[in-house]
């Protein structure tokens, strides 16, 4: 991958030298360094990036995805090096049948609830998470509502004429 950003080039080189086999795709859409990686190796990659050498000590965001065309689930990480002001987006994919990925809680405490939220929404199992329970929805809920196949509405609404909106 070619980049005009010296920081990005440095990161890409460092990652390529260590984790070449885990990296699937790299890109820079809208100037944001985006790397798709193998979900089995994500913890090592992030641990390396979060080390003092690379300085990505801040987990900005962690969220789930459901790619319904390939029926895969994914987790997207945004990590940030505050001193060089560089952000990286790391994307992973995993089959919906076995949605497992390593937990980041040991690296970033902020990952704790974000992973719980992701589990709550998509049913992604974070291995090594200390307390993987539903967080926003009720414990009794028996599906993962953010997956594309589930409806948004709850169906108890009585004061609406659905035909107006093509449903």
């Amino acid at each position: 991958m070619e980049s005009n950003n010296a920081e990005h080039t440095k990161i890409v080189e460092a990652l390529n030298s260590r984790f070449a086999s885990s990296i699937k795709e790299m890109g820079e859409p809208y100037g944001e360094l985006t790397i798709s990686v193998d979900s089995s190796n994500i913890k090592n990659i992030i641990a390396f990036l979060a080390s003092e050498e690379m300085g990505f000590s801040y987990l900005t965001d962690l969220c789930g995805m459901h790619y319904d065309t390939t029926d895969e689930l994914g987790v997207v990480y945004h990590i940030h090096n505050l001193y060089t002001n560089t952000r990286i987006r790391l994307k992973t994919r995993m089959p919906k049948a076995k949605p497992e990925i390593d937990s980041m809680v040991s690296l970033f405490r902020s990952a704790n609830w974000q992973e719980r939220e992701t589990y709550d929404f998509y049913g992604i199992i974070f291995k090594g998470h200390p307390d993987l329970r539903r967080i926003l929805n009720m414990d009794e809920m028996d599906y993962f509502p953010m997956r594309k196949e589930y409806a948004l509405e709850d169906g108890t609404r009585t004061d609406k004429n659905d035909t107006m909106f093509g449903r």
Binding site: D159, K160, M164
Partner: protein
């Protein structure tokens, strides 16, 4: 930790001065401030005796406009319903019959037009979506009521009264 920028400035001072240690100076100062409000003009707006004038662009109760001749502007195109994030608008379209030209401006009109005021979030997107200058939000507020069914406003409450026309020119002004 190392600072990220050179623009940081420490905003706190936690050292008590001797006077602050004594409690009383700050307490007396505070009490002087509160007592000075004793004779100040009260900020209260005496609603409902006095009503505040809302901004001309205020997003309150909806109105279905008629044109100068008294014909309804709405052609039941359904854009407002599509644009409504709360899905509060429903309507049924009907064809205009002969002799109803004075009642409806276009060939199609809304036979039923209902807005569920309890669902409505008064975002104003329906007003923006309307291509026929038919629906506008006004600076009136929707009245409260005892019954949930009361809030489905039909055409009887939405279409403007020709005797009490609502001026919407200010809303359209883009300054």
């Amino acid at each position: 930790m190392k600072a990220l920028t050179n623009r940081s400035k420490i905003a706190v001072d936690k050292e008590y001065t001797f006077m602050e240690r004594l409690y009383f100076p700050a307490i007396i100062k505070g009490m002087m401030i509160t007592i000075s409000h004793l004779l100040k003009k009260k900020a209260t707006l005496r609603y409902p005796e006095v009503q505040k004038e809302f901004a001309p662009v205020y997003r309150g109760k909806h109105v279905l406009k008629r044109d100068e001749k008294g014909a309804e502007n709405c052609t039941a195109c359904g854009l407002c319903a599509v644009a409504c994030p709360a899905e509060a608008i429903t309507m049924t379209a009907a064809e205009r019959k002969k002799g109803e030209e004075g009642k409806y401006r276009e060939e199609k009109y809304a036979e039923v037009y209902e807005i569920n005021m309890l669902r409505c979030i008064f975002c104003g997107l329906c007003e923006e979506a309307c291509p026929k200058e038919a629906i506008f939000l006004t600076d009136e507020i929707v009245k409260t009521s005892y019954d949930r069914q009361d809030f489905v406003y039909g055409k009887d409450r939405l279409v403007e009264d020709m005797n009490k026309r609502i001026d919407i020119t200010k809303r359209q002004k883009k300054y």
